[in-house]
């Protein structure tokens, strides 16, 4: 909790150091890294969407390395069973013929879980993970097992190759704090990637933060101030995603089927606070909200068929909402 300017500066420095360390390994992708850190510091889960080979797994692993968190990776496939994620109860036979049940934790028992290509698993398996994300526990064999803290799920999904996939339902998408788009690297970034990965020694991030420090940063972020006006703007941002709302932009009224819910508002404020902390401020500003708006809202707006047919994206709708608010501010 921030109680002095020195405390604030220390928090800012920690976050900056974390970024720098990640940047030692990950070339470019500053926005993705930053948004992932927001998610981490806000205590939420993130969904990364991007084509294969853009370094998503490496990014998550690097983050795990820098924060000294245990890392698990689950490759989602159609035949993946829920127990493959959560773990299963085994019967241990003793040397003297005795037998006892033993819970074998699955890969979800980690601080940082990478759910790779989550949309390739069946909904049943997906929901097993999502339950763990929401509750922070896993129930197996009548016993509830608490997941380690901090617990983050960073799921990825491939926007192409949609055959044989199971798109996440809206209710489950809503559980992800952010949906982060991973873009293709630029020319310069590509060159640097090649240079780094084909050298004798691949760069490796070192741990610059403990799990406890991460938890402290989360508490620091939560203690930041939010003015009533800023809160009103956040509410307005969310409300304007609803097509039935009078103030909603025409595009939203036409192309949005459903809007965002209360979790979006929570996410906006949480991310806003984290961003404010990373910028050394003790209060949330409109700039924090407008920056967080796209990753927070893009997976919470459901498009109409017309919008999908016309290629209208949720990003476009979210951007129009932000512009509308700024114009009237």
């Amino acid at each position: 909790m921030i109680e002095s300017k020195e405390g604030l500066q220390a928090a800012v420095k920690k976050i900056a150091t974390l970024k720098q360390e990640i940047a030692m390994v990950i070339v470019g992708q500053e926005t993705v890294v930053e948004q992932l850190l927001w998610s981490l510091l806000a205590g939420g889960h993130a969904l990364l969407e991007g084509i294969p080979g853009l370094g998503k797994t490496m990014l998550v692993r690097t983050i795990a390395d820098t924060v000294s968190l245990s890392f698990s990776r689950i490759q989602f496939t159609p035949d993946l069973m829920p127990s493959d994620i959560t773990g299963t109860t085994l019967i241990d036979f003793g040397t003297q013929g005795s037998a006892a049940q033993r819970f074998q934790p699955g890969p979800v028992f980690g601080n940082l879980v990478l759910a790779d290509e989550i949309n390739r698993a069946t909904p049943k398996t997906q929901s097993a993970l999502l339950e763990a994300m929401q509750e922070g526990t896993v129930t197996a064999g009548g016993t509830t097992h608490v997941l380690p803290k901090p617990f983050f799920v960073l799921a990825t999904q491939n926007p192409i190759e949609q055959e044989g996939t199971y798109p996440l339902p809206e209710a489950q998408l809503d559980r992800f704090l952010l949906k982060i788009g991973v873009e293709y690297p630029t020319r310069e970034e590509l060159k640097q990637i090649v240079m780094r990965t084909t050298a004798m020694e691949a760069p490796r991030a070192r741990s610059v933060m403990t799990g406890e420090e991460l938890t402290e940063l989360q508490q620091d972020a939560k203690s930041l101030l939010v003015a009533e006006d800023i809160l009103d703007l956040a509410v307005q941002l969310v409300m304007m995603t609803h097509p039935a709302e009078d103030d909603a932009p025409e595009e939203v009224k036409r192309y949005a089927k459903f809007g965002a819910g209360p979790r979006a508002l929570q996410a906006l404020i949480s991310i806003g606070k984290v961003r404010a902390l990373s910028h050394g401020r003790m209060h949330v500003s409109w700039q924090d909200l407008r920056t967080a708006a796209l990753p927070v809202l893009r997976h919470r707006i459901v498009l109409t068929y017309e919008a999908q047919a016309l290629g209208v994206t949720t990003d476009r709708l979210a951007a129009s909402i932000v512009e509308s608010i700024e114009a009237n501010r």
Partner: protein, 588 residues
């Protein structure tokens, strides 16, 4: 909280924002008021709209003041100043700090982060204020160019409308004048009514005068009358009032006749003199003197007195119905004097008292006539003003015939009239009619014998001039009205140069109702210092009062000058009025 450094830093921003708002609102108000003003000026060119300029001025000022007040009313608050500052570099720090300040105030228990954040915000505000001109500069003209261009366009339109004469303006002014005339008429009517109350006249006589006036006022007050109808009502009222005036005049003439007869009887002479002087107190004294002298009279004297009174009674009876009461009073007095000279002395006194009362009543007819004439003249002036207003509005064709008269068409000019007082002295005086009729006025001697005969022929219309000279003797003055003009000559006793100055060839205007008046000339009037009064001839019977053109002209010219003095009268209108009065001046 009020002394918090953050609040202090907000004050200059608040002031500047308030100034911006005030400027914007004032400009908007001016623009709105100007638009309304343009609308009013435009409407004034389509419909008759009185005081369009005043309305225009009112709307512009109202818009300006409303904008100013609205700007003052909506002064920038601390929160608005904070929001404005946050738009720049402070990133919502000021708003957040202000909210924390409002939430915790001077409470020492405020969370540390709130205090820290406020300190940061205060520093940011300080930086902002130190660069206030850069951070919050005066709006460039580009930001207000739509409003400024709009204002320029509107005021260009206003300038054009004000420069180009409004064809309806003259009519609007004329309408206003007409309304003013009606208002003045009502005011004058009230004054005359009050004056009438003061006179000790019989109620029926008063009612004869006030009834048409009341009726007219009721009709005017009820409103809804068109100017033409107002003129008709005015005409009706004038006719009735002039009838009363003529009746009063006849009564006065009867009284003069009686007075002249009384002058031939020694005991009645003081009474006759009092009647001629219109002196009520002297009249009462004279009656008392007669009453007290009765007991001392010889039978022969009593008989002579009675015969004189009987003669007066007979003379009054010959005058017609209006003199019945006076004739009866004279007869009763004569009978009591003759039959009961001593035994019924009291009755004789009663008869004398009745005679005195009757004579007093007849005397008040003089004031009644004056009042009625005054009222008639006022009505006439009002009517002329309304008629003039109608002409200005292009409604001349709707004016009733009786109000169309002017110096040009002569429709309201007399064909004849009373010649006024003519010399009562001088012998064999003659007067010749003027070439164009008109008014003759002359001085007359107050003594001497002689008669003047003359005939006036009036044929109305036109402006003419003629000089008249009359030689006569004596001192006196008199004025006559009528259509006689010409030179008169007379000789007689006395000397002097007050011979009648007859200015003939004048068109008489306004009051006569007909053009066909002709008739004998009155020889009337009396000396102001005891000369004998004679009356001869018969004045043409005119339905109305004859007034000299010069008098009418001078009154109207004076009113016109007053109108010209008003700043609200347009210059074009002023020129027209001047030109009009130049053209109709008597000596032209």
């Amino acid at each position: 909280m009020a002394n918090d450094p953050l609040i202090e830093q907000l004050k200059p921003v608040r002031r500047r924002l308030t100034l911006f708002r005030l400027s914007r609102m004032t400009l908007l108000g001016l623009l709105a008021g100007s638009l309304a003003g343009v609308f009013v000026l435009g409407v004034a060119r389509l419909w008759l709209l009185l005081y369009a300029s005043l309305f225009f001025f009112f709307f512009v000022m109202a818009g300006l003041i409303t904008g100013l007040l609205f700007g003052l009313w909506n002064r920038a608050t601390a929160k608005e100043a904070a929001i404005e500052m946050d738009k720049s570099v402070t990133e919502d720090a000021i708003v957040t700090a202000l909210e924390g300040l409002e939430a915790y105030g001077a409470n020492k228990q405020e969370p540390a982060i709130v205090k820290l954040q406020r300190e940061d915000a205060t520093e940011a505000a300080n930086r902002y204020v130190s660069e206030l001109n850069k951070r919050l500069p005066w709006p460039s003209w580009r930001s207000a160019r739509v409003m400024l261009f709009g204002l320029c366009a509107v005021w260009t339109g206003i300038a054009i409308m004000l420069i180009l004469p409004n064809p309806l303006q003259e009519r609007a002014v004329a309408q206003a004048e007409m309304k003013m005339s009606v208002d003045e008429l009502e005011l004058e009517a009230k004054l005359i009514e009050e004056e009438l109350e003061r006179l000790s006249l019989p109620q029926d006589v008063k009612e004869a005068l006030t009834k048409p006036l009341d009726k007219l006022r009721e009709e005017l007050v009820s409103g809804g009358l068109k100017p033409v109808e107002v003129l008709e009502k005015l005409d009706q009222a004038m006719r009735e009032i002039e009838r009363v005036a003529n009746a009063a005049k006849e009564a006065l003439q009867r009284l003069n006749t009686a007075a002249e007869a009384m002058n031939r009887q020694p005991l009645l002479r003081p009474l006759g003199a009092a009647l001629q002087d219109r002196d009520s107190a002297a009249m009462e004294q004279a009656v008392d003197h007669i009453r007290s002298s009765l007991s001392r009279l010889t039978p022969a004297e009593r008989k002579e007195l009675a015969e004189t009174l009987e003669g007066l009674a007979s003379q009054m009876q010959e005058q017609g119905d209006g003199a019945d009461k006076l004739a009866a009073a004279f007869g009763e007095a004569a009978r009591q004097v003759r039959d009961n000279s001593e035994a019924d002395q009291n009755s004789g006194e009663d008869a004398l008292s009745q005679l005195r009362n009757q004579l007093a009543s007849e005397l008040s007819q003089g004031e009644l006539e004056q009042l009625a004439r005054s009222m008639s003249e006022q009505l006439d002036r009002s009517g002329q003003a309304i008629a003039e207003g109608m002409r200005s509005q292009g409604l001349g064709g709707s004016i009733p015939p009786s109000w169309r008269g002017n110096s040009q068409d002569g429709s309201r000019t007399p064909g004849g009239g009373t010649s006024g007082e003519q010399p009562t002295s001088g012998s064999n005086g003659t007067s010749n009619p003027g070439s164009n009729g008109g008014q003759g006025s002359g001085s007359r001697p107050d003594s001497g014998q002689g008669a003047e005969s003359g005939a006036g022929q009036g044929n109305g219309g036109g402006i003419g001039s003629a000089g008249s000279q009359e030689s006569g003797g004596g001192v006196g003055s008199g004025s006559g009205q009528g259509n006689e003009s010409g030179t008169g000559s007379g000789n007689g006793q006395g000397s002097g140069n007050g011979a009648g100055l007859g200015a003939g060839s004048r068109t008489l205007v306004t009051t006569p109702r007909t053009m066909a008046g002709s008739g004998d000339v009155y020889q009337d009037g009396g000396p102001s210092s005891g000369g004998q009064i004679e009356q001869g001839g018969q004045s043409p019977i005119m339905d109305g009062v004859t007034r000299p053109y010069e008098e009418v002209y001078s009154e109207y010219a004076a009113e016109a000058r007053q109108s010209l003095g008003r700043s609200s009268l347009p210059a074009s209108m002023q020129d027209k009025v001047k030109q009009y009065f130049d053209e109709i001046q008597p000596n032209r």
